[in-house]
């Protein structure tokens, strides 16, 4: 399946965006988010960005006050996922202009739409920033 979920979490452990590519109940999601966030936030800068959890892996990276956590199958290429996270951040940056946590909080839907353009069914389908942003820019112009 590739990517199982994408989470954006702040330093206090509060979830700012949660996109799952397989169905989990609310309780399952909360439990998962709690466990993973605890594991990743406890690590420091000199440690690697990969954590093994249950039967899959988490690839994470911190940008300013936000942690981006991506859960992937064991066969997935971790370095490619790190590049994906970077691409996501750059895309949001281009759209919001120096994106910060507040941007995501108040424009959560836009963030979801951006992610939707990039990933479907857990597979990365679009990696060009302009292609990702053009539908969203069109939508904004229309409204």
């Amino acid at each position: 399946m590739g990517i199982r979920f994408v989470l954006m979490v702040n330093k206090q452990g509060q979830t700012r965006l949660a996109q799952y590519y397989e169905y989990l109940t609310i309780e399952e999601r909360r439990a998962l988010e709690g466990e993973i966030v605890r594991k990743c936030l406890a690590r420091n800068e000199q440690q690697c960005s990969f954590v093994e959890h249950r039967n899959y892996k988490i690839v994470y990276r911190r940008y300013a006050s936000l942690f981006f956590l991506v859960g992937v199958d064991n066969e997935e290429n971790e370095l490619a996922i790190l590049e994906f996270i970077h691409l996501l951040v750059e895309t949001m940056d281009r759209h919001f202009g120096n994106v910060c946590e507040l941007d995501i909080m108040f424009h959560l839907e836009k963030a979801h739409f951006m992610l939707e353009e990039m990933v479907m069914n857990g597979c990365i389908v679009e990696t060009s920033k302009s292609n990702i942003l053009s539908p969203i820019q069109l939508m904004e112009k229309a409204s």
């Binding site: 909360r30 839907e109 479907m120 389908v125």
Partner: protein
């Protein structure tokens, strides 16, 4: 009236941010109540805003919104694009394909949107379908998807291909219908479409590689021509699954992959090439050599991510090409010290993979030194790995058991060691299997038993239990049984839990009987050991005192049946006239001569008194096993004392033979 004051999503978010921590839950509950009222409104905007807020609360605060599924479906038919968008997003985030019944109601709407002229409506519908698809939905919408696969707009085509994976999973018939069109798209010039198609086949090939082997030529073309790293990575994954099935394919792809590996500047692609080579193309030496070279670069990089991945890749190579690991031995061992625990664990696994008969001692020495300076968790990881690797296949890798058991003794003394149980098991297991190492085992055991400080350490108790058992079972190898007895009976043994104390007592019993037997039989030069052995060791007293029955030693052994006393040859001080074929080892002779010096009547009586003094109080213990065993020993002492007293007085022949009658 209410809609005039409907709080927007922004208001909700601000309200949440301003709520003090304890109040947040109440604020959310109040908001949900408001939303319940608002969502019933006939005004589209009100309903949309209500749904928007609820979706937010559901996604980030775990609020249940399954009751709002129908309003979401209603809103999805709105003519206002932003409302439709909202509704579909809400559906994607909250509908449960297994339980949300209203999903079926979306069929018609989705179909309508698929045929919309607005590509964004189509895209929206496709995204939603990939999140919430059910078998029914998939079956009903397959024809529409089939049409979309041929769309003139690449944007739509790309999304249709991406969405169809989910449909294939839910409704396998769809594969047959749509397959040809997707294959055609492998030749698309649009990068998005191509990427989606390759991605789709990547997922499919992982599950059933053989079915997609015929497409190898198409994938090969992409492998050679494409300059897009994302696409190349996916194609490599496909080939990793296909190559093992067809050797001719493997031969063809080795060179292009090596070419990519040499030329690319992207670490992710490098890593994928290395992975593909070491998992599926490991018979091609030049490719493997190249891959190992790249792995080395990863290992030496300062970036912990690359180091970690390098170690993982090396572990895969190690299976068939151990030279690769040995070449990088130093880096691997240095990584045992890394700040990152993940890297340490990978390095440890690799080190264990390097272990062979020749280097096991050296490697264990290095590992123990790392264990001593590590935190408790990693220390125990190291010890656990050593224990499991060395004991694999019945200690296949161990040549020098004397060295190994002394290592086990050393490990037990490491402050953080929590592997007492495993060490106990192995010590006893080795003792039973390897006869030659028994003297060394007894020697190690003595070191452990004699130290009063260890009795207070809870982690080492199991090992002490093993040490006590071994000392009793193989007491004939002990150089100083009297000292051994003192260790077994020392006052601090009261700190031990009852089951272990019971082992100590039983061993003391064995040591005592051994000493008494040795004394009585070494008392003169002729050997009449067989009768004495029978009567003393097998507890063959027909008479029993009122309170105590003496149980034969072989039954009270806690490891019943694993080894029986009868197979144990008691050593003889002098072997004249003995027709048995037991061999006397050098150890036995020196032990025997030491014993001859130690075992005077006085020292035996002291021994007996020592036992009586220490075990006397335990005969009344509340712990059943302790009481039983202590009583056994005391009972035997009662019966044997007269014999000891009289052993030096008379000539041996008459008195000792036969059954005791004076009781």
């Amino acid at each position: 009236m209410e809609s005039l004051f409907q709080r927007s999503l922004d208001d909700l978010i601000k309200g949440l941010r301003l709520s003090p921590p304890g109040v947040e839950a109440a604020f959310i509950a109040k908001s949900v109540d408001e939303i319940r009222r608002e969502i019933k409104s006939t005004d589209s905007q009100t309903k949309a805003t209500a749904l928007q807020k609820l979706t937010y609360l559901h996604s980030l605060h775990g609020v249940d919104m399954s009751w709002a599924a129908f309003p979401a479906v209603e809103l999805s038919s709105s003519a206002v694009h932003s409302h439709k968008r909202l509704a579909f997003l809400s559906a994607s985030l909250s509908f449960n394909p297994n339980t949300t019944d209203v999903i079926l109601l979306l069929t018609h709407q989705l179909r309508k949107d698929f045929s919309s002229s607005n590509p964004h409506d189509v895209s929206l519908a496709l995204c939603t379908l990939s999140s919430i698809s059910t078998p029914d939905l998939s079956r009903d919408l397959t024809p529409d998807l089939f049409t979309l696969l041929n769309s003139s707009k690449n944007f739509v085509k790309k999304k249709a291909i991406a969405a169809i994976l989910r449909v294939f999973e839910q409704y396998p018939e769809a594969v047959r219908v749509c397959f040809k069109r997707i294959v055609e798209n492998l030749e698309s010039s649009d990068m998005g479409v191509l990427s989606a198609a390759v991605g789709l086949f990547c997922e499919l090939a992982v599950k059933e590689p053989r079915s997609y082997l015929p497409l190898a030529p198409e994938f090969y073309k992409i492998l050679v021509d494409s300059r897009n790293n994302w696409v190349l990575i996916k194609v490599l994954k496909i080939f990793a699954k296909l190559a093992p099935l067809e050797p001719r394919l493997a031969k063809r792809i080795v060179e292009p992959i090596c070419e990519h590996l040499r030329r690319t500047g992207a670490k992710s692609l490098e890593f994928e090439c290395v992975n593909t080579i070491v998992t599926s193309l490991s018979e091609y030496e030049p490719a493997v050599k190249l891959a190992v070279m790249k792995i080395q670069e990863f290992l030496l990089d300062n970036d912990p991510n690359l180091k970690y991945l390098g170690l993982q890749a090396l572990a895969i190579v190690a299976a068939k090409h151990s030279w690769a690991v040995l070449e990088n031995k130093d880096v691997v061992i240095k990584s045992l010290d890394d700040v990152d625990v993940n890297i340490k664990l990978e390095a440890l696994q690799l080190v264990m993979a390097m272990v062979s008969e020749d280097n096991v001692a050296e490697i264990c020495k290095v590992l123990i030194s790392y264990a001593l300076k590590s935190d408790p968790e990693f220390c125990n990881e190291i010890l656990g790995s050593i224990l499991s690797t060395c004991s694999r296949n019945f200690y296949d890798v161990i040549v020098d058991f004397d060295w190994y058991v002394s290592l086990l003794g050393e490990m037990s003394r490491i402050p953080h060691c929590q592997k007492g149980e495993e060490i106990e098991t192995q010590l006893i297991d080795i003792g039973m299997r390897v006869k030659d190492v028994r003297p060394e085992l007894v020697h190690i055991a003595r070191g452990l038993l004699i130290d009063p400080a260890l009795l207070g350490n809870p982690f080492i108790r199991k090992v002490l239990s093993a040490a006590a058992w071994l000392s009793g079972e193989y007491v004939e190898f002990s150089r100083n049984p009297l000292e051994l007895m003192e260790s077994l009976l020392q006052p601090r043994t009261c700190l031990l839990p009852p089951p272990i104390r019971a082992v100590y007592i039983q061993s003391a019993f064995k040591v005592l009987t051994f000493c008494i037997y040795s004394f009585l039989s070494c008392g003169d030069d002729t050997s009449y050991h067989s009768e004495l052995t029978d009567s003393v060791l097998k507890g063959d007293f027909q008479e029993s005192s009122d309170t105590v029955t003496i149980a034969p030693i072989s039954d009270t052994d806690i490891y019943d049946g694993l080894i029986t006393r009868s197979s144990h040859q008691p050593p003889k001080c002098v072997s004249t006239g003995n027709g048995d074929d037991s061999m006397i080892s050098h150890e036995q002779i020196s032990s025997a001569s030491l014993r001859k010096q130690q075992l005077t009547q006085k020292s035996i009586m002291d021994l007996v008194n020592l036992v009586e003094t220490n075990l006397g109080p335990l005969a009344g213990s509340h712990e059943v096993e302790i009481q039983e065993r202590a009583s056994n020993v005391l009972g035997m002492i009662e019966l044997i004392k007269p014999r000891i007293h009289s052993s030096t007085d008379e000539s041996e022949g008459d008195k000792i033979k036969g059954e005791p009658e004076s009781f």
